[in-house]
């Protein structure tokens, strides 16, 4: 029992000692006393964090004394930390700059209107791709500085296409129904599945629906628009057909989704351009890939261009906001040279219009058999229909994913949409 007492005393002593010594250091960072240390939260060391580092490097050259502390947190962790911190009313420990996915931006901006710093004077949103405006602004004020585009493409295995007697042109600018028809043929001839789908993952539904320029809510971002929404119904039908017709491999999470194409088991990947590094990770497939425009829904006015994911930077309304805003404005808000480096060094395509040409967009990629994929993505980006993601993207897609289950077990599509509408109206008030 002596041992216990000694251990206990030792622990208490360590606590007191380190509390005293740690106190001063913690105190300084807590109240943001150091004006030059700006903190930023982002989530991918190879992508948006690398981009922030690049921006810091360039900014220091111009502005001199500036220090950016970039903190790596998983995206879902950032969402949780931000919600807990902002709703508690203590801005304590919050970062100066935070990266938020476009789908979630409105729910943060509207739920915590005082927490974000108005960037209207620091950035001209008209310099950016049109479709970035709705998610990043609120109540006539511009809050976000767009970072990357989530422009989609259809990644294709040219060797499998050839084996089945097709060329990439056959899959260029087609509808999803045509895609399914071709897919059935290719699957039969090559034994490879056409696409890998996760019935619980809403990514595909989202980019399909955006090809038609509509969303789960109306332009006000709040009125639920699912019952009788042709695009939503079509997307569900296409998704179900792909699963039923046996052209789809099923995956259950991110790693099995990546494994599906890295292992060479599937013919195509329909997703955002941010998937490029993962596709290129399997070097043995170099030269066998190409990217064509994403298929569109068979709905009037649908185009072969869409968006999935994509995010923007926001400045929090805490001490240091001016420096943070200044930094973002002089880098992501106006620095065309930076955008060239982002493409060549990180593979990130921005949406800043004056910077979408030049050397970086003229490079042929060996992996894609010499295709200039960046220029192609930029071309498709210009055609992305403008949609207000509104307040309820995640809640709506969860409801639809739930209803998809009923649809697959035989419920009529019309009923599916009506029930989804009812559920959403009840849940979203």
């Amino acid at each position: 029992m002596k041992k216990w007492k000694i251990l206990f005393a030792a622990v208490l002593l360590t606590m007191v000692l380190s509390a005293c010594s740690g106190g001063s250091a913690d105190g300084a960072s807590d109240d943001g006393g150091d004006p030059d240390a700006i903190t930023a939260w982002a989530w991918d060391p190879l992508f948006n964090i690398a981009a922030l580092e690049l921006a810091e490097e360039q900014y220091v050259q111009e502005a001199g004394d500036f220090q950016l502390d970039i903190i790596d947190n998983a995206q879902k962790d950032i969402v949780q930390k931000l919600n807990t911190g902002l709703s508690s009313g203590t801005m304590n420990g919050m970062p100066n700059i935070v990266l938020i996915e476009d789908y979630r931006a409105q729910s943060f901006l509207q739920a915590y209107p005082d927490a974000f710093y108005d960037m209207s004077e620091h950035v001209n949103i008209d310099d950016f791709a049109e479709y970035k405006k709705a998610p990043t602004s609120f109540d006539g004020k511009q809050y976000g500085i767009p970072f990357d585009t989530g422009v989609t493409g259809l990644y294709l295995r040219t060797d499998y296409l050839e084996e089945a007697g097709y060329t990439p042109e056959d899959l260029t600018n087609i509808t999803w129904d045509e895609y399914i028809e071709i897919g059935k043929d290719i699957t039969e001839k090559t034994g490879k599945k056409m696409i890998s789908l996760n019935p619980n993952d809403p990514d595909h539904l989202r980019h399909m629906i955006q090809t038609a320029g509509t969303w789960f809510t109306d332009e006000d971002g709040e009125t639920v628009n699912m019952a009788g929404n042709e695009a939503v119904g079509e997307a569900l039908r296409v998704f179900k057909t792909m699963l039923d017709e046996d052209i789809a491999h099923t995956n259950s999470d991110w790693s099995s989704r990546i494994a599906a194409f890295n292992s060479g088991d599937i013919v195509s990947v329909a997703t955002g351009n941010w998937m490029t590094p993962s596709v290129k990770a399997e070097e043995s497939q170099s030269g066998n890939w190409t990217v064509v425009p994403i298929p569109r829904l068979s709905v009037d006015g649908a185009v072969n261009a869409s968006n999935v994911g994509g995010s923007s930077f926001y400045v929090l309304n805490i001490p240091g906001k001016e420096q943070a805003a200044e930094f973002l404005a002089s880098t992501f808000g106006s620095d065309t040279a930076l955008y060239q480096d982002l493409v060549t060094e990180i593979g990130a395509i921005g949406t800043y219009l004056p910077a979408l040409e030049g050397e970086a967009f003229n490079q042929e990629d060996e992996f894609f058999a010499g295709q200039n994929i960046n220029a192609d993505f930029v071309k498709w980006m210009m055609e992305i229909p403008n949609v207000n993601y509104g307040m309820h993207t995640y809640a709506s897609t969860d409801i639809l994913i739930g209803e998809l289950q009923n649809y697959r077990s035989g419920k009529a599509l019309e009923e599916v949409l009506e029930d989804a509408q009812k559920q959403a109206e009840a849940q979203l008030n």
Partner: protein, 275 residues
Amino acid sequence: MNKLKSIFTYGILSIAAIVSLFPFAWMLISMTNKSSDISQGRLLPGSNLLENLRNLFESYNVGSALFNSFFIAIVATVLCLVVSSLAGYGFEIYRSKGKDIVFNILLLSMMIPFAALMVPLFRLFGDVSQVFPAFGIDTLYAVILPYVSTAFFIFFFRQNTKMFTKDLIEAGRIDGLSEIGIFFRIYMPSMKNTFAAAGIISFMNNWNNFLWPLVILQSPDVQTIPLLISNLGSGYSPDFGIIYTAIVIGTIPTALIFFFLQKYFVEGMTGSVKG
């Protein structure tokens, strides 16, 4: 008959051990493989172990995360054992109507999901930060404090105290020990097995704790192992080799703690006092 019984016993335990250990074998194998091999489910050891280790230690501050996790787990466990065992003992040995009511109310505190307490608790620590920044947001103590006393361990100690031979207390009183002396000199040594079990569980809970450290810790220098592992998977193209290497490193301490403390599960009966 006896032979049959032992075949049965060893058979069942071996199956249970294989089922339990398979994922660990998979983890250890994955630690030696390249990311793309892991996501394709390779079941054979590879040759990428050193590279994974180097990548992990070069790009991430594993040492500091290990230190923070150890600090939190050890301090929280020691404090929790003392505070909860005192309370569990107090509730059972000095049982009274009033204390039973208090006990039942305390039990209520573990019936609400932590997610519901997080925002008010964060606000509380925001206030603490104003007065005692050393115990406020973004400090290791803020992680520890809510786990110093939990209804779970008080309940556990109380239930075990029910099985404690009360005669020993009377014997202690006759020997002239004070009430607190009885607790430290008689109860604690004879309940080694209970303390060992509680120690293992508390260490493990604190070591693996995720939700609360996630919201209360902000700066990289106070990051813990589970937060580090969560961040490793944050990218669009995560390196699974690094992730599994970190997971194995993060699992070893609890496994070792268990291995060292488990001997008390056989020594309980032969303990000095009860024998």
